[in-house]
Subunit: 692 residues, 2 copies
């Protein structure tokens, strides 16, 4: 599942030829008009763009969606909404497994701590941000100055418009855009199928194709206690995508790294990715074994487990790509060509020539703090939501009294409301599961930094990881939202006064964690930003500005053609049919995860077996695009992205249209299932515009 939770950014179109490929995650302010015109004879108009943009929805939990009715109905993937489903579930009433259908609008259930964003306007603030960083500033000063101006721009915009205002770094600092979002924080659950239908085939079929998943959920944005009235929403195409169609994907790809230098890619291949994979496998084994102990345990671990398995499979696919010498050969050749071009022009050489060495130097510094930075600052060593809460409270107490411009990025005024929604969430925390997670991660801390490390000893306080985790989880009162609110409101004095062991742990760590953060921000992140800014500008200089930036979990437009591919000598079809789901279930003896839900088995005879269920296209997508609408030339919804195939997992580094495909649920298959399996008449009427 191409789902992910945040990140960073840069360019593309290395050679003229691939630029005629269906490549790119384009800015709505800089769409690929040329290739759309020349290759597909499609004129993309401002009206078309505005309509698609304002119909698109971003999930703050990571993922995409779209408005599909004037009454704020939103469609996304089941696996994007599963966080909401899990948080509304209890041992007796498991919405993830059983699905949900609201009885009327009054029966729609409010999601805990979910926020939706709709991009309303884009403003280029590159000049203002650039002006703040004066020549001759060192990295720390440059970073501080940039952070200050960004915080100020965001705060001003928030005050003026009331809209969520984010300054987005594009082209690695080649451009800065101010994105203003309309924010919906009252989001309610309307309809979800059973997980067995949404995630049919489970982990074995994840990132694979052919596929047979009804990976959808409908939510509704509410405003002032009423369903939100929205001007822009996508009209439903009952016929849906057909083979050979030009289609567009409007969504929020999380992160790509297509401009990364070879040295940087090596670091990912040799260090960050293997370390992350070991961590993921560790968590997977923990969550699986926890879940096997009882059905209720399995339910508690399910959402975490899906995320971990999904990342593990994606990263293994990425690793297979990175360990292919052919990819590195292409990247080396491209890097060498670009560097040669830079060296051939004295001005370019002076401006951009040291960028590659600058990346390598930053990577060397990163390498030196890699483990402690991840463990202590990013919190890998403290794998419980309760620690994240404690850290936020400790840092908020220190940051809030500071001027907005000087705060750590995540505590700036503009983001505070969203942060509070997370911090005061009533989402359940399971002490048994969290104790196991914390035990394991504390053990990992000791393994990785050493039992004799001074800070490790202080963290463990003379106990084994198990005893220490029990002490912390049992002892902390942060499980109670009222206690969190009190500590938040009490500020530094309340933090200083509390004996809560989790708060004390966060305080103990904070000086070291902040030091690592500062080193990372100033000596790694900032030089990388500067170096990739140079490389981006070198590419602008050499190839022009008609390129797209790396993904940044902001709205992008991708395009492609609906078509199958060849694999192992066989033709893989452009679409699967709803009848194929039954065939696959039967081939596997209806064994989990190939057990279709009872609702499907009961209604089988009613279904039109040939209805398309899933389909593929050449659109350029990545994690974060989950739930993105697939639209046709007319701006109608013909499907919803939910995955990329295995061959697309290297898209992080390189696009290809030979075998790599984006996988979507077909709009016709969705209607067929809603009508004939789920009797979801109100939703169908709302989608198709039939009278209510």
């Amino acid at each position: 599942m191409i789902f992910r939770k945040r990140s960073l950014a840069v360019v593309l179109c290395l050679f003229p030829a691939p630029c005629l490929a269906d490549e790119g995650m384009w800015l709505f302010t800089n769409p690929p008009t040329g290739v759309l015109q020349s290759k597909y004879q499609f004129d993309v108009t401002p009206q078309w763009l505005e309509h698609v943009q304002k119909s698109s929805v971003r999930f703050n939990s990571g993922g995409s969606g779209s408005f599909v009715s004037a009454d704020g109905l939103v469609m996304t993937n089941h696996h994007v909404a599963s966080d909401c489903l899990a948080k509304l579930s209890t041992q007796r009433d498991d919405l993830v497994t059983a699905g949900f259908a609201a009885k009327g609008r009054a029966g729609e259930r409010q999601c805990v701590d979910l926020e939706l964003n709709v991009l309303m306007s884009i403003e280029d603030v590159t000049a203002r941000v650039g002006a703040a960083v004066r020549p001759g500033m060192d990295a720390a000063a440059a970073q501080k100055a940039r952070r200050a101006v960004i915080n100020t721009v965001e705060k001003e915009s928030l005050d003026q418009t009331g809209l969520r205002s984010d300054v987005v770094t594009l082209y690695n600092g080649g451009q800065y855009h101010l994105y203003r979002y309309k924010k919906y924080t009252d989001v309610r659950l309307v309809f979800a199928p059973e997980k067995a239908a949404a995630f049919f085939g489970g982990d074995p079929d994840n990132f694979e194709y052919p596929r047979y998943d009804l990976d959808i959920t409908f939510l509704r944005a509410w405003e002032n206690g009423q369903p939100a009235k929205v001007q822009h929403f996508l009209k439903w195409s009952a016929a849906g995508a057909r083979e050979g169609d030009l289609v567009f994907v409007s969504g929020h790809p999380g992160r790509t790294s297509r401009l990364e230098t070879v040295r940087h890619m090596e670091f990912v291949r040799d260090r960050t990715n293997p370390t992350s994979l070991n961590l993921l496998r560790r968590q997977e084994v923990l969550l699986k074994t926890f879940g096997e102990r009882s059905a209720e345990n399995a339910r508690r671990a399910e959402d975490d487990l899906f995320g971990v398995q999904n990342s593990r499979k994606a990263r293994i696919g990425l690793m297979e790509g990175l360990q292919d010498p052919a990819l590195f050969a292409r990247k080396r050749a491209a890097e060498s060509a670009l560097r040669q071009a830079v060296l051939s022009n004295p001005e370019w050489k002076r401006e951009y020539g040291d960028a590659w060495e600058q990346v390598s130097a930053a990577i060397a510094t990163w390498d030196g703090i890699f483990l402690p930075h991840y463990l202590l600052e990013r919190g890998w060593a403290f794998h419980t939501e309760l620690f994240s809460i404690a850290r936020d409270l400790v840092r908020l107490a220190a940051e809030r009294p500071k001027p907005n411009a000087e705060r750590l990025r995540e505590y700036s005024e503009a983001g505070l409301e969203s942060l509070q929604q997370e911090l005061f969430s009533e989402a359940p925390i399971y002490e048994d599961l969290d104790t196991e997670k914390l035990t394991d991660s504390l053990g990992m801390l000791e393994e990785m930094l050493g039992a004799d490390d001074g800070l490790v000893r202080q963290v463990l306080a003379g106990r084994s990881p198990l005893r220490r985790a029990q002490e912390l989880i049992q002892g902390t009162q942060l499980k109670d939202v009222a206690v969190r609110k009190k500590l938040f409101e009490g500020g530094q004095a309340a933090i200083d006064a509390t004996g809560d062991p989790m708060i004390q742990l966060a305080r103990l760590l904070d000086p070291t964690a902040r030091k690592l953060r500062a080193t990372y921000d100033e000596k790694v992140d900032e030089p990388l930003k500067q170096a990739y800014g140079k490389i981006s500008r070198a590419r602008f200089a050499i190839h022009g500005t008609d390129v797209y930036p790396d993904a940044t979990f902001t709205l992008r437009l991708a395009f492609g053609v609906v078509k199958g591919y060849r694999e192992n000598g066989r033709t893989v079809p452009w679409a699967t049919e709803i009848g194929g789901a039954f065939a696959r279930a039967s081939d596997h003896g209806y064994r989990d995860p190939f057990n279709l839900p009872q609702s499907w088995l009961d209604r089988r005879s009613r279904l039109e077996a040939q209805t398309p269920l899933n389909f593929v296209s050449t659109a350029d997508i990545i994690g974060g695009n989950s739930g993105s609408p697939v639209v046709n030339r007319a701006g109608e919804l013909v499907g919803i992205i939910f995955d990329g195939n295995l061959q697309s997992l290297i898209f992080d580094y390189e696009y290809s249209e030979e075998q790599a495909r984006a996988v979507a649920v077909h709009s016709a298959g969705i209607l067929e299932a809603l009508r004939k399996i789920y009797d979801a008449t109100p939703v169908v009427r709302e989608l198709t515009g039939a009278r209510q």
Copy 2:
């Protein structure tokens, strides 16, 4: 499950007090007569010892068992026999899942490549081995001389007696004993219950107690086409163990490390154990995901998966113990006391004083070669049976022409017959599974040694790990036993001539792997042997010789009392009852792995619910003891060991009788199930001595 596959060795009884504990894995030549007499008023006689010794059986696959009839009937654990069950299974006929009951003796099915050993005699050859190592020899020469004399002793004994002859290193070289085994290579499957009964509760209940497992399988040793006639076998006790009984465990504990220095333990805690655990988690995720794809995949991966999960759970338990500062505090105090005692006597100081520094120096060397040694010499990077076969063939061609005394230990004449049985095994090899295993381990090799390492590049030959694994597995002809035989018989010329890619890979690696082996043998293993030999002798000098050596996968006698314990304020009972299995299954909604087999559900009403099913005792056991008979004062079989509880997982380093327990199946529960669930009348008659 306390099951393991081989290993090394040293002492105990650190303080006078614990020596009255039920501690120790005693040699049959040096039993704990004193404590048995003083604490339990039990006189252990030579006749009793001989009878129990010759009734005990060692499994070359790792595990223990015992003769339970005059006709060579052997009882062991289902999980010890599962290797045989898996190798006899096919997609259509899955003996692991379905169980097996032979129809008459002619219907008993021969296990593939299984060898049983019965210890017939023990001879102390310490003086002869010691004489070969002359003072002033350097480590390499000492090691070579010792290996030569050991090979010679074994070869002479084999020639003289025809018995398998192994020189066993005890007390870390404090003593060398020649063990002669009667060997059975025709072993047949008689009866096995379903895995759901044998391993009820699966991984969640593994190493836990209370427990409800019928973890037994009956095999039969055959000789000359007839059931073997054996003089010694254990009489079945129908009443079985009772609370408070003194009981004995006769089996083959694989490895303990109770004499390890603190520095050595730190190395295990910080390096070897975390690395092994990462490897195990990696394999677990791979095998689980492979198995989830289809029922047949699950069957193919099942035996590997059990082994991996079992090791993972054991090592996590061990890690929890090692990360407890209290254990290290006790070990530090004991080490300090011993070193003080050594320093207090000038002769001891001269003889033994440098042992601890010698361990630390060897560990430092080990640390330096740790990863390449494991990856390249121990084969972690080539995770397929086909590579092990290739390596054996390549090395046999080089080693066999050498004089026996100069060969690598595993290719000496005495072990050649057993080795050939493994090498020419018709056990199935699954190309799909092996390709995934090899892909993953080649990827790990690249991660761990680096993509730019010269040998790594040669191994991968310009391909990605996936492509290279496919090429190797598809290309090798070693899947065909006839090809293996031909290469074995053809010797070096055949090896030189073959184009088989797996053989060529093994040849490519051999120079580097042998160099690592030599460094490990000469600079790590040998100095450790010498140092621990000194520590052992220091302990003999200070505390006398009335101590037991660390476990070495050779026959040992443990003893203890049948009794429960206190945990979290509750009393955990000494035994569980057969009715409890049904209650536990019902509590879990009969959800896998708590799904009792249909045979149990069908026969529930016939069963005497109060019959003891599993029970615990304070006996000192460890991995390798799986399948060990539990015998009473009269030498009758009252149960069979199959596990230790979580609290016993630290037994590798330290015995304790507060909560740690050995877990066994009760002889009464076995009879009840055989009679009333399985209608296994012939087996019951054979066990109880009733007329056939």
